[in-house]
């Protein structure tokens, strides 16, 4: 018998429950991705999840830990998230590399669940983006946009996934298009105004919201992501602090600058719905392990993410800043936890003792 301290009752929450809640919340987004990219999405999802689980299993085995941990849901979640932030155009080896990187370098080398300083999926995505910029910024034309394109049948998708565009007698240019963010960035660089660029792209806010624009697998539908995110918030699996402060900061910044000069700065609604912002705000930035743990720290974290995302999107080389922003803020998490603490009962803010 060991010394056991109170409390002798437990609320019943567990790591598994938390992880599987998030996985369930991502199912709508995964379904939308299948709707947009057909079999390609299915292959990518299964590859990422399967490789993540396998890598986790072998990593645990080789390190002499309990292999049951594979089923705590965290590796599966990492795989799922990873698939959702990858473009549908990535070949199989890149997906495998990303999944192995996420689990091994992103998580297990740091001591496994709970110790990774960066979000594993995002870390892998950043590595891919920097190593293979072409693949990572080419977006396959969604199924509904060009029905004549022979890309989405099981066989063609399989060939494309494993052998690349040549195997299906296609060229990159024919099957890919720019995402709204990428298109805007290029056009702005050539002196076109925001409004014109969006008109040229046939951009529609409604489409972006319900999910018909090109992008990474999971970025398509803001609606599906919001459904999952709000459900998680209602269940208290994630707290409201990060998503709300993140999106709010984004909206305020974008709105402010859009008012100042609407020709150069995109409107807030565009920023909110474009790219991986919603996915990042609800599912990436809220990764408990790599974000601050106090409510007030989370708000600071969210604001930081918002500012960085907007700055990178607007001024940087990369059209999408959300992933960089979250990884950069992950770095600041220990400091936020150290310097930004909740006020302790009976103490004045700032003075702890």
């Amino acid at each position: 018998m060991i010394f056991l301290s109170s409390p002798h009752q437990h609320g019943g929450n567990s790591i598994q429950l938390t992880m599987f809640s998030v996985i369930i919340a991502l199912i709508p987004a995964a379904m939308v991705s299948v709707y947009l990219y057909g079999w390609l999405a299915v292959f990518l999802l299964t590859t990422c999840i399967g490789v993540s689980l396998a890598t986790e299993f072998f990593a645990l085995k080789w390190m002499g830990k309990e292999t049951d941990r594979v089923w705590d849901g965290s590796a599966g979640l990492t795989g799922l998230l990873l698939a959702l932030i990858l473009p549908a155009a990535v070949p199989w080896w890149m997906a495998v590399f990303a999944a192995v990187f996420a689990i091994v370098l992103g998580k297990q080398l740091y001591g496994g669940l709970g110790h990774n300083p960066f979000n594993p999926a995002l870390a892998a995505r950043v590595v891919l983006l920097i190593s293979f910029p072409l693949h990572m910024t080419s977006w396959i034309v969604p199924m509904h946009m060009d029905a004549s394109l022979d890309m989405y049948s099981f066989i063609t998708s399989l060939k494309f996934f494993f052998l690349g565009p040549d195997a299906v007698q296609q060229t990159w240019d024919a099957i890919t298009m720019a995402s709204p963010l990428g298109y805007l960035k290029t056009e702005l660089g050539q002196g076109v105004t925001v409004t014109e660029a969006l008109v040229n792209y046939h951009y529609s806010t409604l489409h972006a919201f319900i999910g018909r624009e090109a992008g990474s697998l999971g970025e398509g539908s803001a609606l599906a992501l919001l459904m999952g995110g709000v459900w998680l918030m209602a269940r208290h699996t994630i707290s409201w602090h990060i998503p709300i402060s993140y999106l709010l900061t984004m909206a305020v910044l974008a709105g402010l600058f859009n008012l100042i000069n609407p020709d150069v700065y995109a409107p807030p609604m565009f920023h909110l719905l474009a790219g991986g912002l919603i996915l990042c705000a609800f599912f990436m930035a809220t990764d408990p392990v790599s974000s601050p743990s106090s409510g007030i720290g989370k708000i600071v974290f969210g604001i930081g993410c918002g500012i960085l995302t907007w700055v990178i999107r607007t001024f940087g080389n990369y059209p999408e800043g959300a992933m960089f922003a979250v990884v950069l803020m992950n770095m600041a998490t220990p400091l936020i936890d150290y310097y930004v603490r909740p006020r302790v009962y009976g103490h004045k803010r700032g003075k702890q003792s």
């Binding site: 018998m1 060991i2 010394f3 301290s5």
Partner: protein
């Protein structure tokens, strides 16, 4: 003579800077060694000499002054070692000797011959007695340094583990086995009774 220019300029500059630094060094001169005080404050003050120095302060001076290893304080244990390593900014080093439970010295009074040798050896003056009288140890003040064991000509001093007090009891680290501790306590309790009987 062109090559002299740069040399001259360099020398002049160096001279100016050197003079400046000389004045600065006088202004910012540090007296004594404030680090030794900090280290000394961390030591358990048993004055036991197990570190190889004649007391806690000399060891503190040695650690702070000449960079002697931080792991020589046996009674201080790992915690003291870590604290000193932290202050000194060096890598912690494991203590070679095994950590033991805190002990105090106990004189079997019926065997004591009243030689006062242990009284002289005690670094904290916690043995009382007079020549040809039994000596006894004020256990509240005993640091458990064992320095009194050696001088005793009749070996009547034991080191006994300090009993666990209810008011000083504190929670062990989670996962600590209960039974082991209870058994140990029981054994100790029995041992003490035997000890007093003998």
């Amino acid at each position: 003579m062109d090559f002299l220019y740069p040399v001259l300029i360099f020398a002049t500059l160096a001279l100016i800077i050197g003079t400046g630094l000389a004045f600065a060094s006088r202004y910012f001169y540090v007296e004594g060694d404030p680090l030794a005080d900090k280290v000394d404050a961390l030591l358990p003050q048993t004055q036991c000499g197990q570190c190889g120095y004649p007391g806690c302060r000399p060891y503190a001076d040695a650690v702070a002054g000449s960079g002697v290893a931080v792991n020589h304080c046996v009674p201080g244990g790992e915690r003291t070692m870590l604290a000193i390593a932290d202050i000194m900014g060096v890598e912690p080093k494991a203590i070679e000797e095994e950590e033991t439970a805190p002990v105090v010295a106990y004189i079997r009074e019926d065997e004591c011959i009243g030689c006062t040798l242990c009284i002289k050896a005690c670094p904290v003056d916690c043995i009382i007695g007079a020549p040809k009288q039994y000596h006894t140890i004020v256990t509240d003040h005993c640091t458990g340094c064992t320095l009194c064991l050696e001088p005793c000509p009749v070996d009547c001093i034991d080191m006994v583990e300090t009993p666990e007090l209810l008011e000083h009891w504190s929670w062990p680290v989670p996962g600590t086995k209960r039974a082991v501790k209870a058994e140990k306590r029981k054994a100790q309790h029995d041992g003490k009774i035997e000890g007093t009987d003998a």
